[in-house]
């Protein structure tokens, strides 16, 4: 059995393979999550190249995290410079950049969402198959203790079957975007459901025993991209309700109702979990499972994510993240069933019609 500690970074023997990494896109997620994580994993990854059209950003991040890395303003000459690329650029660029990197012979970890549509995802998957290189998708919540605990409880049947799941995530949008592209429907391809809701869709796919079907979807899109969305999906008899917002604060948690317990996990706090069961035996079992899981999972989800990439590359088995493709497929179904959200304060008063 693999030593649990060896799952974590920083505990590896020096003889292990060190992969050269190219970071394509030097925005906030690279700065806040990936580069700090990679700097903790120098026995497995070395940041060899930083790529961004904003040369000031590459200089800033190189100085802070990878002084020896080369700085490039395009991603087309990375063959031979790196073996793995992180793609942390806006979603509308993913298909083009990921396919190019695969053709250059690099494995790719691309930030979620994989792409904007099922077709774009399939193009990437085809390029991955043709190149023999793997594509991983940055769903770092898969490495949150809380989210992973839901998976453990669901798979182990510790609390009985999952009956329903209610997920809410929202706050006034404050991600430091440098352009309005994220709000442009042609470029972004979607709003909060594509940008953030894919996390919740990924969780649904993780917990569902068969591909869920979309029962209902509504949002506030009036020709742009949705700032608020609400979906209900079903897998057999169980339902999954998702509510997302970029305009106001929601509960920012996932409540999973099992037959014998209710487990609540936070969206933004990897370790926050509330376990409640009316059966003391079940509650004790759940708390023990939680303690066991905590001992196996590192504290930094992004480090865990890169550890998964490293393990997969070491195995030599080709990989494409099918769940990430399914999430975009589900989202496409949701958009195709879209109903307008009831927001009577948004429209103009009927009296105005006569003033035109």
């Amino acid at each position: 059995m693999e030593d649990q500690a060896s799952m974590r970074s920083g505990a590896q023997p020096p003889s292990e393979k060190v992969y050269q990494v190219a970071v394509v896109g030097c925005g906030a997620i690279s700065e806040r999550a990936h580069l700090p994580a990679l700097s903790k994993m120098t026995s497995r990854f070395s940041v060899a190249t930083l790529v961004d059209t904003d040369t000031q950003r590459t200089e800033e991040l190189a100085e802070q995290y990878a002084p020896g890395a080369s700085r490039l303003s395009n991603y087309e000459g990375l063959a031979g410079r790196a073996e793995v690329a992180l793609v942390a650029t806006p979603p509308h660029t993913h298909q083009r950049i990921v396919c190019s990197l695969l053709e250059q012979g690099l494995h790719v970890l691309v930030e979620k969402p994989l792409a904007r549509t099922r077709e774009e995802c399939e193009t990437i998957a085809e390029a991955a198959r043709a190149s023999g290189r793997s594509v991983f998708v940055g769903y770092n919540r898969r490495y949150f203790l809380g989210w992973r605990f839901l998976k453990v409880v669901s798979d182990s049947n510790l609390a009985g079957p999952l009956l329903s799941l209610d997920a809410e995530e929202g706050s006034p949008f404050d991600w430091p975007v440098g352009s309005a592209a994220i709000f442009n429907p042609e470029i972004a391809g979607g709003g909060t459901m594509l940008d953030t809701g894919v996390h919740e869709l990924d969780l649904v796919l993780w917990l569902a025993s068969e591909k869920p079907r979309v029962l209902f979807y509504e949002d506030d899109n009036r020709g742009g991209v949705e700032a608020n969305g609400h979906a209900i999906l079903a897998d057999g008899d169980r339902t999954f309700r998702l509510r997302l917002s970029r305009t106001h604060t929601l509960q920012n948690r996932v409540v999973a109702n099992f037959l014998n317990a209710v487990i609540t996990v936070e969206c933004w706090d990897p370790t926050a979990i509330d376990i409640f069961s009316w059966d003391p035996v079940v509650e004790r079992s759940l708390k023990k499972a939680h303690t066991d899981l905590r001992q196996t999972l590192g504290a930094d989800p992004t480090v865990e994510e890169w550890t998964g990439v490293w393990n997969s590359l070491q195995s030599g088995v080709w990989f494409i993240d099918e769940a990430a493709i399914q999430a975009i497929d589900l989202l496409g179904q949701m958009y195709s069933m879209r109903q307008p959200m009831d927001q009577p304060w948004v429209g103009v008063a009927r009296e105005l019609e006569g003033v035109r």
Binding site: P172, F173, D174, W175, P176, V177, G178, S179, A180, I182, F183, N184, P185, G191, D220, N221, R222, G223, G224, V225, E226, A227, N228, R246, T247, H248, T249, L250, Q343, P344, W345, V346, G347, V348, A349, E351, L352, V355, R356
Partner: protein, 363 residues
């Protein structure tokens, strides 16, 4: 219908965003101008492309105004820093005028306020009422300057056409001052009516402001004029706040003028002693906490503070404001601009309540 682009400064704000939405729905091409792109998220549901500009940089404003026929100027100082607020309000207006002139903008619609008239103590205020000098009030002072700059810009030929709108108590979805704050204070039980709430409240639902802006953008009769804008039917503060209280199932407590004045006098008298006691109190609190009195002390202190803070924070000018009987006369807006309020208080509050529930600000 003129086919022209309208750039809206302050488009991430409560009034600017709603103006953008309404003008867009009424077939104008709208370019929301924001200081940072994330703040434009509320407008992302519409196919409008926001532009970024810094109100203190003429060049960025000029780029944002390029190709616009009209600029609706809603941005003003709304930070915790008074000096910065004045700078943004006054120099921002000056910059908008210069950039509009340089970009060839034809019309400027300036979002002013009834506050330019101060608290004159009159039963009726119209556009001929002189500005009241209120040097101690940065908001009134800087909005007066900004409005003067705007109207002078037309006289001096920098911009061909200028219209100033002076709305009163603007409430509705996303309003911090007149919707969210009253709701939060009712929930915290720190909202009191002055003198039974008998003062006059000149409500203005935000859609009525946006409607007036539409008319100001499109009617030639508006040029060179300033217009008071309200819902047209003033109510008393009790009636206005009662809607919010009813949404929450709360009562509306009242404080007499004498209570407030007494609290004000008491504050002046006791402040030096309170400060001395606070210094000593830190040591005392530490000692009490050791024997378990700290929580009881904190509870009692907070209850007392909640009751008195509101009254102690009430300045004489706020009393004038809440007890005033001034009605803002919108006859000129009706006759010259063709303005008629399109949403009454009941309908406006109905929409506001639905938004409050959607936004989880009330249960």
């Amino acid at each position: 219908m003129p086919d022209h682009t309208v750039a809206v400064t302050g488009a991430a704000g409560f009034i600017g965003a709603r103006i953008s939405e309404v003008l867009f729905q009424r077939d104008l091409r709208v370019r929301p101008i924001v200081r940072t792109f994330p703040s434009a998220a509320r407008l992302s549901m519409w196919p409008m492309e926001p532009a970024r500009a810094d109100i203190l940089q003429v060049s960025s404003l000029r780029s944002a105004f390029e190709g616009a026929h009209t600029v609706v100027h809603c941005a003003y100082g709304n930070t915790l820093d008074q000096a910065q607020n004045e700078l943004i309000t006054v120099e921002g207006a000056r910059n908008v005028i210069q950039a509009a002139g340089e970009a060839g903008v034809r019309r400027l619609v300036h979002m002013s306020t009834v506050a330019v008239y101060g608290e004159p103590g009159l039963d009726k205020v119209d556009e001929n009422t002189p500005y009241e000098q209120r040097e101690e009030d940065w908001y009134t002072r800087s909005k007066q300057q900004a409005e003067r700059l705007m109207l002078d810009a037309m006289d001096s030929g920098i911009v061909s056409e200028v219209v100033a709108l002076q709305p009163a108590i603007v409430y509705g979805p996303y309003s911090l001052h007149w919707t969210i704050t009253p709701i939060e204070r009712l929930q915290a039980e720190t909202l009191y009516l002055y003198d039974e709430g008998r003062g006059v409240c000149n409500t203005t639902y935000v859609d009525n402001v946006a409607h007036a802006v539409y008319l100001a953008c499109t009617r030639s009769e508006a040029v060179g004029e300033r217009f008071l804008i309200t819902d047209g039917e003033p109510v008393i503060w009790r009636e206005f706040y009662q809607y919010y209280a009813d949404m929450l199932g709360k009562s509306l407590p009242s404080a007499s003028v004498e209570d407030v004045q007494s609290a004000e006098a008491s504050k002046a008298r006791w402040t030096p002693l309170v400060k001395a006691a606070q210094t000593a109190g830190k040591a005392t609190t530490s000692a009490l906490s050791a024997v378990g009195f700290r929580n009881a002390y904190a509870l009692a202190r907070n209850a007392y503070r909640r009751k008195t803070r509101w009254m102690q924070q009430t300045s004489a000018s706020m009393l004038d404001f809440y007890l005033g009987t001034t009605r803002y006369d919108i006859t000129k807006a009706r006759t010259v601009l063709g303005y008629e309020p399109i949403v009454d208080l009941c309908s406006g509050m109905n929409a506001t309540e639905k938004w409050l529930r959607f936004s989880r600000l009330i249960p």
